[in-house]
Each structure stands twice: as C-alpha cells, then as structure tokens.
C-alpha cells in the first residue's frame, strides 16, 4: 500500500456511529452520504477543521454503536484517507475494511494535535510527524490484502474468478 500523508484531526474516545453519520441521514441515497460525514460530532465543529484527504486520529472504541455501513461509507465519500484509533468497535472496523476504508489500531492520539501533517506506512506500522518516526504494530496482512482490492466484494469476485 502507498504511504498515506495528510492533515490530522484529533478526536476523543467513543466516537459513535450516530456522530459519524446521524440517524436522520440514514435514508439518504448511497452516493450522497459524504455530505453528512461527522455531522453529529460532539465537541468539535467538523467543518472548520476538515479538508479532503485528512486523517482522523481518535481514542478508544471509535465507531461504537450501530452496524450502519453508511458510517464508513460517509467517511470514504468525504475523502477521509485513514482513521487511526486506540481501538475500534468490531462491526465498524469490519465495515470499514469491507468497503476499502483503511482503519488502523495504533495509540497515537496523545502525541498528535489537530493540524499536524503526518505520514503513515501501514505495512511497516510507522507514523512520521515533524521528521520523527514512531513504530507500531503494522496492519494485518489479510486486511492489507482486502484494502488492496478496494474492499471485500472486489476481493471475493477476484477470488471466485467472476468477471461479468
């Protein structure tokens, strides 16, 4: 996978799926979800810190709550390049990987601030900020494989040899 570079937005613990994509946006058409990304975020006005290609950096249990796949889809459509958190809720983590949005468990939230520019190498497990590189557990190989196909469906199709 390519090295991911971007501006950091620091978030707290337990950022739930209602904050990532509020209930009122759930019936929106698939391709319109990006407009509602992080629309329910508590404590931060997301629009004021957001830029395309940015990297969300959070604490514990990011994505807790609903199974709505609309949540990671909204982040992907808003061009969030990567989410790094101390930990992820299980269903959100799997949903994100299944649609091809990179999410990576690493404890960096306390050493970064909103606005920092970072470089992340998921295969090596490194985060570089201001020329200083820190190492973490690299992303699992199986996850990198799914992401490299662009998600679970393209991977399954390729593995089943379906072309039509």
């Amino acid at each position: 996978m390519d090295i991911i570079k971007g501006k950091v937005i620091v978030l707290g613990d337990d950022v739930d799926t209602d904050q990532i994509l509020p209930g009122y946006a759930m019936a929106e058409p698939y391709d319109q979800l990006g407009k509602f990304a992080m629309a329910g975020l508590a404590g931060v006005d997301f629009k004021t810190v957001y830029e395309p290609g940015c990297i969300l950096v959070a604490g514990r249990n990011f994505g807790c709550g609903s199974s709505r796949e609309q949540a990671p889809i909204a982040l992907q459509q808003a061009q969030i390049a990567l989410v790094i958190a101390k930990g992820f809720a299980r269903i959100f983590r799997r949903n994100a990987i299944n649609i091809g949005l990179p999410v990576w468990a690493a404890d960096v939230v306390d050493s970064l601030k909103t606005g920092d520019q970072i470089e992340v190498d998921l295969e090596q497990g490194t985060v570089t900020v201001n020329g200083e590189t820190k190492r973490f557990q690299p992303m699992a190989e199986n996850v990198i494989k799914t992401l490299s196909y662009g998600g679970l469906i393209p991977r399954v199709r390729a593995e089943l040899g379906i072309t039509e």
Binding site: N61, C64, E69, R90, N98
Partner: protein, 394 residues
C-alpha cells in the same frame, strides 16, 4: 471448550476450536432491515451470484423508518420489495414489528444456531440460546450469497448469576449494571456468556433484553447458557442479583450508569417505552400495571412502542392499550423510529428523556443537547407518572 466455542465449532464443522482461531461458520438465518438491506442488496448484486443460499432462511424487515417518513425512506422499501420478489426471500413491510422480535416470532433459531443480521443488536437472540453476530451490509451480502460467515473465535467473559432479584430489578438493570463494571469497550471482539442458578430468575424476554445490550459493552456475541458454570473462559465474574438495585444510564453513554436512586428527582419531559430492547409483552405489562387508574405527569410526553404487531394485539386483548391511553400516554405502531431519532418522537435541546431503548449517544434521539437516560420499563413508567426520575416500587 466453553459453550460459545462448542457452538462455533459445530457451525464450522470442527471438533475443537480455541480463541483466535479463524473459522468459516454455517449460518442458519440471515436478515436485514430498511437501513442496512438496501446497501446489502447493492453489494449482493455486485458479487454477481444468481441466488441466495436459501431463500427460506433470508428475511428482510422494514422497521427502522415505518411508515416512511420521507420519499427516500420509501424508495428503500421498494429496493427491498424488488429484491424479495426476484429472489423469493421473506419480506415484512407492513409494520409487523422490529427485526429482533420478528426473528423470534417468525424465524426462531434453535439454541446453538448462528444468526447473522445486519444490525448491531443481533445479540438479542442469545436470550433464547442462539448465537447472534451483528454485521454490516457488505458482510451480510456475502452471507446471503454463501450461507457462511467468517469469524475468529472470541475469548469468553462469563457472568455467573446467583441470588434472587428484588421486585424492582429486571434484565435491563442487570445489563446496565454490567456497563458500569466493564465500560464500552472491554468486550470488543469478545463474547459475554451468562450462566449460574440466577439465570432461572430471568424470563426469556428479559434474557433477550440483556443480550440486546451486550453490544453497548462492545461484545461480539452475548449468550445465555445453563445454570452450570462453563470452563475455559478468559474472565469469570459472579454477580448476586439480590444485591442489585434499579440502574440508569446517564447522558451520553450506555455505560455511564448509576443506581436510579442517585439521580432520582431529576425533572423529565419525555418517556419512551419500547424498542428491540424493551418492547416485549412483559415490558408492556410493567407500563400497564403502573398506569392503571393513574395519569402520567402533564409535563411528560409518554410514548409506548410495542416491538411487534403480535405484542400490540395481545395488549389490546388484555385491555392494556386502553389503560395506557387513558393514562394520557400514546401507543405507537411497532418500529424503531423513536429509538434512533428517525421519526415519531424526536427530542429537542430542551428535552430530558427517560427511555427503555439501548443508546443515549449525543443526538441519538434528535438534538445533540437532549439528555437521554436509559432505564427499565418499570423505572420509565414510574418516572412518567411523577415527571421526575423515580425509583420503581419493589
């Protein structure tokens, strides 16, 4: 092996499994609702297979936004209708009820069978002994196509229940209390297993309430076993039901839990009793009993939402709908709307809500500033009558 491992081993066709092992498990039932099904259908069509693994074991249920609150919501129903006709799967689109209750009423899995639903509260079926794993739309599409689910064997945290519960303590209070013990993420990628003589104190409906909210503690699977203690668990906690008092989750986390007595007296403006957590007949009975011959507090908007049409019909037969209406409350059609801020009971910044639902995240029921408390139907009903958070009578 513990019970979770035995069940997963059977579903995977293996003699023995252990935590961390990757399995491909046979699925007994697959289901999705109007928020998750449209994307699952889109993904299913992208896979490119010509049929679902077994149409009789696939159910689509319109519960989250029923009746439609917008044209977009209605369009999602049509996507499900088209798919159901094309692939011959079950479709419930006339307000029959909330997905986890309907799966119990219409497509009940046997103990140990694997149920995969595109909804986070799929653990609910652990109350009747089935293994429920909640997934997103893409994984559901894959399960619909293959009849299989890939998962890793979780470590098991066992709760060994003992003692007799006080008359004002219910399944809801048990799981809320565990939220205060474990927090929101201790059980991520793990399973929560209830055993011990205390489980006989809890009806299947109350066990379903407990399993419903396992996800709020992060759990992958929540399951009731037997009165015997299970071996090979990662953690073991003994819990005396007799020592519990009614519990309440304060804003803005289901794990921000204190005894109701600690916040008693807080003025409230809305009460919601219902949802896949607490919309069953036993829950409605708590409300009817509390409201009989009384009137809810004039400051409180009181909404009662049975989890299925079958429950609603039984309430009517028993005269409970009349009792509830005469008390000044509103009986709504079965559905999920008021729980997650879709429609039918949104809260504004001025509202303080006591709800029997499962989440009180910021903005869950509408305004980010609305304060939501989560409690049992008994606590909610007692609070509706006084207009203040109230400990129900034992």
């Amino acid at each position: 092996m513990n019970l979770v491992e035995k069940y997963l081993a059977k579903a995977a066709g293996k003699d023995a499994v252990s935590p961390g092992m990757d399995l491909s498990c046979r699925v007994s039932y697959v289901a999705a609702h109007d928020v998750t099904a449209p994307i699952a259908i889109k993904m299913f069509r992208q896979i490119g297979v010509k049929k679902v693994f077994d149409p009789d074991r696939v159910a689509l249920i319109v519960d989250h936004i029923y009746p439609a609150s917008s044209e977009k919501a209605r369009d999602n129903v049509w996507i499900m209708d088209d798919f159901a006709k094309e692939f011959g799967v079950h479709l419930y689109q006339r307000g029959e009820g909330v997905i986890h209750q309907l799966m119990y009423e219409k497509h009940r899995a046997q103990p140990g069978e694997l149920v995969v639903i595109a909804d986070s509260h799929t653990g609910t079926c652990g109350g009747y002994g089935a293994v429920g794993v909640g997934v997103g739309s893409t994984e559901l599409a894959a399960a619909m196509a293959t009849g299989k689910l890939d998962l890793e064997v979780p470590e098991v945290v066992q709760i060994y229940l003992t003692g007799k519960r006080p008359g004002n303590v219910f399944g809801k209070d048990v799981i809320l209390y565990l939220g205060s013990r474990f927090g929101t993420d201790h059980l991520v990628d793990r399973a929560l297993l209830f055993t011990g003589p205390g489980i006989e104190e809890l009806s299947v409906a109350e066990r379903m309430t407990i399993c419903n909210m396992g996800i709020e503690l992060g759990s992958m699977i929540t399951l009731f076993g037997t009165t015997e203690r299970e071996p090979d668990t990662a953690e073991d906690l003994e819990l005396d039901l007799g020592a519990l008092e009614p519990q309440i989750a304060c804003p803005f986390s289901p794990a921000n839990v204190v005894p109701v007595s600690r916040v008693a007296g807080t003025a409230i403006t809305q009460v919601v009793v219902g949802s896949c957590t607490n919309g069953r007949l036993n829950d409605m009975e708590q409300v009817a009993r509390a409201f009989e011959g009384k009137h809810v507090h004039p400051d409180v908007n009181t909404l009662v939402v049975p989890a299925s049409k079958e429950i609603l019909e039984e309430m009517e037969k028993r005269g409970w709908c009349k009792i509830i209406r005469d008390a000044g409350a509103t009986v709504l059609n079965p559905g999920c709307g008021s729980c997650f801020g879709a429609h039918e009971g949104l809260a504004s910044a001025r509202d303080v809500v006591v709800s029997t639902t499962n989440r009180n995240f910021p903005g869950r029921m509408g305004s980010m500033k609305a304060n939501i408390y989560l409690a049992s139907p008994a606590t909610a009903a007692a609070s509706a009558l006084t207009g203040r958070i109230t400990v129900p009578e034992a």
